[in-house]
């Protein structure tokens, strides 16, 4: 037991001190950063509404943009397919890596370090670098878009899956061990069912996320709805670009609703 007897006043003073130190550090970081990049918080915040007005003024789809609906919907469909397939393929690999890399299930700590580092690498390679790595070798095609999404998703899902598995109660797995189950049985009968619903949530979330990232990947690969956005955006057809944003938003919200439904149904 904690037997260090303090008065509550002392305790609260200590707690307040700790909180203040944290706050001061955070404010310090903020102010330093502000100075470093010459950012003016208040004048900037004051401009927020003006930006939104500008957005609505320029990006509201007009009648003309309806004529672009055909190609937009087709590309949106292709993009959806690519986001789904890249997420699914990535999640298969991520699952294997996560099982090999999670603290509770790793066969060796070496795997753990290698996988953690590898996932971090994939997550932190910037899009421009992906563009160079992939475009030069794989040219501009759906496939390149698929690869780019695949690698980025792999990085994120490996981390998410690893943490999900590590959050599981280790004792439950021991219970299976005690039954005489071997490693693979423990994983398949214990880890997977226990983590299934969280893992599914992550997969569904990643599909949604990849759809949004399609704009970035589209720039990179000249395909999908992201390319169209870039095309309309750069040729100053803001209404059409706005239509794309609107459609992506609607699709994302639909996906979110569907995934909530699915998660509820499989719980």
């Amino acid at each position: 037991m904690k037997t260090s007897f303090q008065s509550p006043q002392q305790f609260f003073r200590q707690r307040r001190l700790r909180l203040s130190v944290v706050l001061i550090i955070l404010i310090g970081i903020y102010v330093t950063s502000m100075a470093l990049v010459n950012f003016q918080t208040w004048t900037s915040i004051a401009k927020i509404p003006a930006g939104l007005i500008w957005l609505f003024h320029n990006f509201i789809p007009t009648e003309r943009s309806i004529s672009y609906l055909g190609p937009i919907l087709y590309q949106l469909w292709r993009t959806l397919l690519v986001s789904i397939s890249s997420t699914i393929v990535a999640s298969l690999f991520a699952l294997i890596f996560a099982i090999l890399g999670a603290k509770t299930t790793t066969p060796s700590p070496v795997f753990r370090i290698v996988i953690r580092f590898g996932a971090s690498l994939l997550r932190n390679i910037p899009v421009v670098a992906w563009a160079m790595i992939l475009l030069f070798s794989f040219k501009q095609s759906d496939f390149t878009g698929f690869l780019a999404l695949f690698f980025m998703t792999l990085g994120y899902l490996t981390r998410a899956f690893t943490e999900t598995i590590e959050d599981l109660d280790a004792e439950k797995l021991q219970a299976l061990q005690a039954v005489g189950a071997n490693y693979f049985q423990c994983v398949f009968c214990g880890v997977l069912p226990e983590a299934a619903s969280t893992l599914t949530s992550w997969v569904l979330y990643m599909i949604e996320n990849n759809l949004r990232d399609a704009t970035l990947v589209g720039l990179l690969t000249g395909t999908g709805v992201g390319f169209l956005f870039d095309y309309y955006f750069k040729s100053f057809r803001y209404d059409a670009a706005g239509l794309i944003v609107l459609l992506i938003a609607i699709l994302v919200i639909l996906l979110e609703l569907t995934s909530t439904q699915i998660r509820r149904a499989i719980a």
């Binding site: 950063s33 918080t41 900037s44 690519v82 699914i88 421009v128 563009a131 501009q140 704009t215």
Partner: protein, 284 residues
Amino acid sequence: MIENSQPKPKTIQPVAPQTKHVSLVTRPRKILRGVLAGLAIITIYSLATLNNGNLVFADAFKSLGVNLNAMFLHPGVGQDTFGQLLRALVTSVSLAMLTTLLGAVIAFFIAVGAARNLAPSWLATTIKAVMAFIRAIPTILWVLIYSVVMGLGASAAVVGLTFHSVAYLVKAYSESIEETSQDTIEALKASGVGFWPIVFQAILPSIVPALLSWTFIRFEINFANAVAVGAAAGADDIGYFLFMAGSFYFNFHEVGLIVYLLLAVAIVLELVSMKLRGHYLKHN
């Protein structure tokens, strides 16, 4: 002690079998299988119809190897000096810091309104829909908007990037808030405690670890975003050097070096976040 009636379970899906065949499949399981099968079919279909641009895979992977070799095994500063790159890196980190801190504070207050266990359902739904919409707007567009309204520079980049931060964190935070048990909230309500004291005294302490880990994830994303589009607003960050090295000079060596710098930041970040999380979970 007096025996109460044995309660009957609400759901007994397959009828308790008299026959030899016993099925393990329950309805949720069937749905799960259906969903997985559906996703598998979509995946196979889209992989089959994927336009691979008549790629010769052997060549592609060979060239990939060459490029990766140039990037990662022979990194170099190109035309810039290491000092310039470091200065730009600091700018990028600062951008990420600002957007994360600003985003986190704003997002927490909005998240309170977006959590179904605190706010009325219509408000929560509206906020969540608006946030989903904000997230669907590409980052570059936000940066464009604010460089028009505020002029070019870091301020536009920060404000533009903060929008995504807020939208993302509102979702994450509000879900964390929704996970705090309704009972504990009710316990305070029952003793006459008002709304905001409950938020700060009951909910906030309960979700600190979750908030921490979401905020750090977002920091990582903000850093990536700052690198990706900060340069478009003329923020003079590492993204500018990366863009020039990548899209103008095709200097694989410099891109490799910049990637290493970015990774270094990411690793430091990961270590800090692990330490903090561990510290919080253990210390208290």
